[in-house]
């Protein structure tokens, strides 16, 4: 019995944190320090309500970030999520609108709301399946495939809404889910759902075979295949998972605004990728964590809201995002190299 412990290398007394844990704590530390710096610079920034807002205002992007992070860890991009958000929202509206409308844009299929959102979700999963088909079966680079499916998804949404939006003739139940407040507070149902998703995702990523296989595939695809992992099937599941999340986000946003807008979710795929990168998810695959992604989202939220508080023109957000991602990538590479020297 003692022989087992004897054979272990005698490391430092403190058990060494994993590289992922190290990067996640680094990102969390940066997020907290940025918040404190912003509190010094921006009046009224240091408030509990503001901390809550940083999370609740970004529930959609954080939720999308979960699917995108899992795919990145497996070594694949998913840029289609923004398009899917628009598509599923528009579909849910179109399916739920009653059949006798005054014009083309106020006439839908008249399905009951439950059925309407189920069908909208199926539509999103179809885009996910399309991603998987092209990436897995045809071996086309995921960046090109998902740029294409992003346009296809948004394109279908534009055709259904004639390039604008549908918001009339909806059943009363339509606006319920997106505006439901829970626990008698201002915290809305979508935010709670996002929180649940985060917890489940962290559990799956750390403790379940599914999560570990995702890392395995990203770290060494060949070895994963050789050890009997069905990569094609796993990546297909990940694309369906990501598209499913995007579908739910789209349905909830459509419900919140009581409209299906073909431009909703514009650039959300970009923001989801940005927060994953800020959170230390490696583009090469096999490295990263959902917790890191969450703090990446907080960094982005602090930076953009502080910039708004400092009355910078909204045009600054593009430059801020670029600089943040650049610094994140350079620092993380440097920190990891230094740590593992």
């Amino acid at each position: 019995m003692s022989s087992v412990t004897d054979t272990l290398p005698s490391g430092p007394t403190r058990s060494k944190m994993s590289d992922e844990g190290f990067i996640s704590s680094l990102v969390a530390a940066v997020a907290i320090s940025l918040f404190l710096i912003a509190s010094l610079l921006v009046p009224n920034f240091f408030q509990w309500q503001n901390v809550v807002n940083l999370v609740t205002n970004n529930w959609a992007v954080i939720a999308l970030g979960v699917g995108v992070s899992f795919l990145l860890v497996s070594g694949n991009f998913d840029l289609s999520v923004g398009g899917i958000v628009a598509l599923s929202g528009v579909l849910s509206v179109w399916f739920a609108q009653s059949t006798e409308g005054a014009n083309a844009l106020s006439t839908g299929l008249g399905l009951p709301y439950g059925l309407a959102i189920a069908c909208a979700l199926l539509g999103s999963l179809a885009i996910g399946a399309l991603n998987a088909l092209f990436v897995v079966r045809f071996g086309i680079p995921s960046i090109i495939v998902t740029l294409g499916t992003m346009m296809v998804a948004r394109g279908i949404a534009q055709v259904i809404t004639h390039g604008s939006q549908r918001n009339t003739n909806l059943p009363d139940a339509f606006g319920y889910l997106g505006n439901l407040s829970l626990f008698g507070t201002s915290i809305k149902f979508p935010v709670v759902l996002m929180g649940l998703l985060l917890v489940v995702a962290i559990f799956v990523e750390r403790k379940m075979v599914f999560g570990r296989i995702t890392y395995w595939i990203g770290a060494n695809p060949e070895a994963a295949s050789l050890s009997g992992i069905d990569r094609a099937r796993h990546i297909t599941k990940l694309y369906l998972f990501s598209a499913g999340i995007a579908g739910v986000v789209g349905i909830l946003l459509a419900s919140e605004y009581k409209s299906g807008f073909s431009n909703r979710g514009l650039l959300m795929e970009f923001d989801a990728l940005v927060i994953a990168l800020l959170g230390g998810v490696a583009i090469a695959g096999g490295f990263g964590s959902v917790i890191g992604m969450f703090f990446g989202a907080i960094i982005l939220a602090v930076v953009t809201s502080a910039a708004t508080g400092l009355v910078l023109s909204p045009d600054w957000q593009f430059i801020l995002k670029a600089v943040a991602v650049f610094l994140a990538i350079v620092t993380q590479t440097w920190a990891l190299a230094r740590r593992n020297k």
Binding site: G139, P141, I144, L147, T149, M151, G155, A232, F270, L320
Partner: protein, 342 residues
Amino acid sequence: MSSQSKTAEQSVASGAANFLRNYYIYFVLVAIVALLSLANLDQFALFERGNFLNKRNIINILRVSAPILVVAGAFTLLMVSGYIDLSIGSTMGLTAVIYAMLAINGMPFVPAFLLTMLAGAVLGAINGILVVRLNITPVIATLITLSLFKGIALLLVQDGVSAIKSGGGLKMPAWFNDYGRDGVFLKLPAAFWVAVAVTLVLIVVQNRGKLGKYAAATGGNPTAAKLSGINTGRTVFLLYVIVGVTAALAGIARSSFMSLGDPLSGDGMELTAILVVLLGGTAFSGGEGRVLRSFVGALIIMALTVGMLTIVPAYYQTLVIGAALLTAAATNHLVSQKGKVS
């Protein structure tokens, strides 16, 4: 005996596949033009006397095609070397703004033109440094600059105005339109002929020049290229600079055509460029691809998008381009029959 006939069959099949691979794009162009010529365009105001093959219509399409035609060649070489530039749309927007600002503040055509090209080279060099020196993945590096260049372009235009244009005491010079609109030869504007000239130069570079060979070697097998003494880093850097310069030419063409400097005028250009290059049969993995075929690919997309506007409402455009991108990628895969990745 049977094995011999089988190999003969195979060689016929591979000959046919080769033929398809080399020439299918020309058939696609002919088919699309034929299809659009058959459609009845009489009722559409955009085209006079309702014929797709009408001279004015062709001139019109070639005029608006100048931006994508000028970037297609350089973008092909970059993809042949196995790299990508997602920032060309933002480079185009930023250089369009710079060019319009120079012109509206009284700089004559030639210096404004050259300075904008220089700006394009600098923007391309920034991409090159991020990718080659700092070793950031091309997709991420150019997404960073996509955001950066767009942000700068938006900041250069003052609040409350959407683009650099006449007004507030400043007036666009009269010559500003000429480059993108005024017919200089065969009724086509200088912007179009510059695109043709750039393409011709790049065809020569690809077939005869060192850079073309180095690009193919870098994309085909980077390690082997390095071992045989090719400075792959310098090759890639140079290609990013060339792409930046052509994107600046595209920005000049677009801003001259629209007679304003719109920071968002290049949005979506990276997608069109990828689509065009894929249509031309360039392999995603690098190593293969021809400048000329991408040029034809660009003509196809412009004929398709402009022609389509006459048949269906504009809101079909995104769907059609997305579907075309996926189709091109799938065709590319089927024709080249490169092995599965995962």
